[in-house]
């Protein structure tokens, strides 16, 4: 046992060395047209060796270390208390949610422009995470290419506006429907796959869409992206200083107020807020409908679900389609917010972040996912100095979470249903 441990720890330390030495210890330097290989500073080598030692020590004492971590929840004084009564809890939750939404409505008028912009991004991530939650949390289908549908929504708006001059409000349903359609089409080939295999194939799909956008230069502009995507209008009122589109009026002139660039940002924020609330409400409703229960049944036990007459095809495709639909929603808002999009915005890392939000929040739980979306988007902004270590912190948080609270921040709670005794 001890010898085994030692060998394992040694192995891990060596792997650490092998991986980190070429990545950190060797630098490629461009001198004119030649590239030369140079070593790094001594401090880097020391750090690499130190890291290997840390890995070694950790692996040797892993069992006791994990044991301590596992006991941590006991420090939480609330851990042992009785769960709140069902009806009370539901009421409390809906009060909290209503409170948050009301607060969110007035909040942008009080804070800086940058904060509102960031909050819009948070709302976009909330939409994405709520949509992915359908696929991963409810239907149990590990989708690593979710960003593809986000891209479809964004590019639909960008392309349509470029070629046909479509408005945001027209593009919103079209983008969402097209994304949903893509979700359904990509769902067909993976019907039989589960778990790891599904994850790998969806990962591939995500990359294919990104690479397609990157290389189909004649249509998408390739890596240069597409710019000049219009802002949303409010009943034909534009938020720019000057009216761009024939027939539109401008917001500040209609209301006789001074032009302020904040108006547009706040308006976009409010749109994102409304859409996020709609997304949450619709998905919440789905969860209590036959289709939502079918998703969960498929996640729980596919064989049993089929033995009761559920068609795997219909259930899986509906999950993929509806998940993708809301990603398309989010994509359209994103395109409008940025005014410019390129394949850079739809890399795998985005899928990973959205997935992390779902997992951190607690699979299936809406409130948890919303809180996690806020945390994951805002924390890196608050800790700008640490931005280099963002991925590291992210990874560490995930590992800790898996050890300490694998069910997520706020795991999904079952809905209680009142039954009438039958004769």
């Amino acid at each position: 046992m001890a010898a085994n441990n030692l060998r394992h720890a040694l192995f891990c330390a060596i792997v650490t060395l092998i991986i980190s030495f070429p990545i950190l210890g060797l630098n490629l330097e461009a001198k004119g047209i030649n590239i030369t290989l140079t070593g790094a500073k001594t401090s880097t080598y020391v750090a690499i060796v130190l890291a290997a030692v840390v890995v070694f020590v950790f692996q040797i004492f892993r069992d006791s270390f994990m044991g301590v971590l596992g006991k941590l929840p006991n420090l939480n004084p609330l851990a042992g208390r009785e769960p709140m009564e069902q009806s009370k809890r539901v009421k409390l939750e809906s009060w909290i949610l209503t409170g948050i939404v009301i607060f969110a409505l007035f909040w942008p008028f009080l804070v800086s422009r940058g904060s509102v912009d960031l909050a819009t991004l948070v709302l976009i991530y909330i939409m994405l995470a709520l949509g992915l939650n359908v696929v991963v949390g409810l239907a149990g289908l590990l989708d690593l290419g979710y960003v593809a549908f986000y891209a479809v929504g964004a590019y639909t708006f960008a392309l349509l506006s470029q070629y046909t001059g479509i408005s945001f409000w027209m593009a919103l349903p079209i983008g969402a429907l097209l994304a949903g359609l893509t979700g359904m089409i990509l769902g067909f080939p993976v019907l039989r796959l589960r778990g790891d295999y599904l994850a790998i194939v969806t990962l591939g799909f995500g990359e294919i869409i990104r690479i397609l956008l990157n290389n189909w230069t004649t249509l998408t502009g390739g890596p240069n992206g597409i710019g000049g995507i219009p802002d949303p209008t409010l009943f034909g009122m534009e938020f720019g200083r000057r009216v761009k589109e024939e027939g539109n009026t401008s917001f500040h002139e209609t209301f006789g107020i001074a032009y302020a660039s904040e108006h547009k940002i706040i308006f976009l924020y409010l749109i994102a807020l409304v859409l996020a609330v709609i997304t949450a409400l619709i998905i919440r409703r789905f969860m209590r409908m036959p289709v939502g229960r079918a998703w969960e049944a498929l996640r729980e036990d596919e064989i049993a679900a089929r033995s009761l007459g559920l068609s795997r095809t219909a259930v899986k495709l509906s999950a993929f389609t509806i998940g993708a639909f809301f990603a398309g929603f989010a994509g359209t808002v994103f395109a409008s917010k940025q005014g410019f999009i390129s394949p850079e915005s739809f890399v795998f890392l985005e899928s990973a972040i959205i997935l992390a939000i779902v997992v951190l929040g607690g699979m299936g739980s809406q409130l948890g996912v919303i809180l996690a979306a806020i945390a994951v988007t805002i924390l890196p902004e608050l800790a700008r100095e640490f931005s280099e270590y963002r991925m590291l912190i992210f990874g560490a948080a995930m590992v800790l979470m898996m050890v300490w609270r694998p069910q997520g921040l706020l795991p999904m709670r079952r809905i209680h249903i009142k039954l009438n005794r039958q004769e």
């Binding site: 409908m289 036990d301 049993a304 007459g309 039954l419």
Partner: protein, 251 residues
């Protein structure tokens, strides 16, 4: 209503089921017995569409069903339980029953989102049917528990209730008494008889508990190493020399 003709199932070199035939009439309890590994569960898997049999025919109400997908067979009114209980463990007891009733529900997403009267009416009916069957198997008090937290015997009963809410014509039970204590087995005995008498369901039963089998079966089929060994009424089977030999040989 069900006729299995010369069913065969081959896994590579192993002929797990070899020319097994059986038939089930309306309101009849037919048992399949045989030593471990005889191929009983495999017969079920072929009948319920989990496996595509390599030979033979399965006729349900005159229609050939062999090779049809499992969910279609289930929708025709032939549902099964599993040797190892398969519940939706993280869903509540009543949700398990609602999932099973999706065909009785209004699954149109738009009506669901809008909560149309038709949708709500059907949802309520499904809830009432769930309540009825929960009461029937003594689980009504536990309706909002997670199915995975039930005791073993309760899980078995829930699985049967989950089949019954689909309003099947034929129920296939794979070792429903396994792991039950004598009192629970007795209750199960009465439940199965009542399914036949009061709900007009035919039952195909795989079971190792001989007293249960002899008690409630109208007819019994014995298979041994995939081959049909004997069939007849409990009386006939009890006296059959081949059966006695096979079972003594096993012991």
């Amino acid at each position: 209503m069900l006729e299995v003709q010369k069913l065969s199932m081959r896994f590579g070199g192993l002929l797990a089921v070899d020319q097994v035939s059986l038939d089930v009439q309306e309101r009849e309890i037919v048992s399949i017995i045989g030593p471990n590994g005889a191929g009983k569960t495999t017969v079920f898997n072929c009948m319920s569409g989990f496996y595509k049999p390599t030979g033979g025919k399965i006729l349900f109400e005159g229609r050939e069903v062999q090779g049809k997908p499992d969910y279609k067979i289930s929708r025709m009114g032939m549902v099964r339980t599993f040797q190892h209980v398969r519940l939706f463990t993280q869903m509540t007891v009543v949700e398990n029953l609602l999932v099973a009733q999706h065909r009785h529900l209004n699954t149109n997403m738009i009506s669901g989102l809008l909560g149309t009267p038709n949708y709500r009416q059907r949802e309520q009916k499904a809830l009432d049917r769930a309540a009825y069957w929960l009461e029937r198997v003594g689980l009504l008090e536990l309706a909002n528990r997670d199915a995975g937290n039930l005791a073993y015997g309760q899980q078995r009963r829930l699985e049967i209730a989950r089949c019954m809410v689909t309003e099947p014509k034929l129920l296939m039970l794979d070792e429903p008494a396994a792991g039950l204590n004598p009192a629970e087995t007795k209750e199960l005995n009465q439940l199965i008889i009542s399914l036949k008498e009061d709900y007009n369901v035919s039952v195909v039963l795989i079971e190792h508990d001989m007293s249960l089998v002899m008690d409630i079966s109208d007819r019994i089929n014995v298979i041994n190493q995939g081959k049909p060994l004997a069939s007849g009424t409990p009386e006939e089977i009890r006296r059959n020399d081949d059966v006695i030999k096979a079972y003594l040989g096993e012991a």
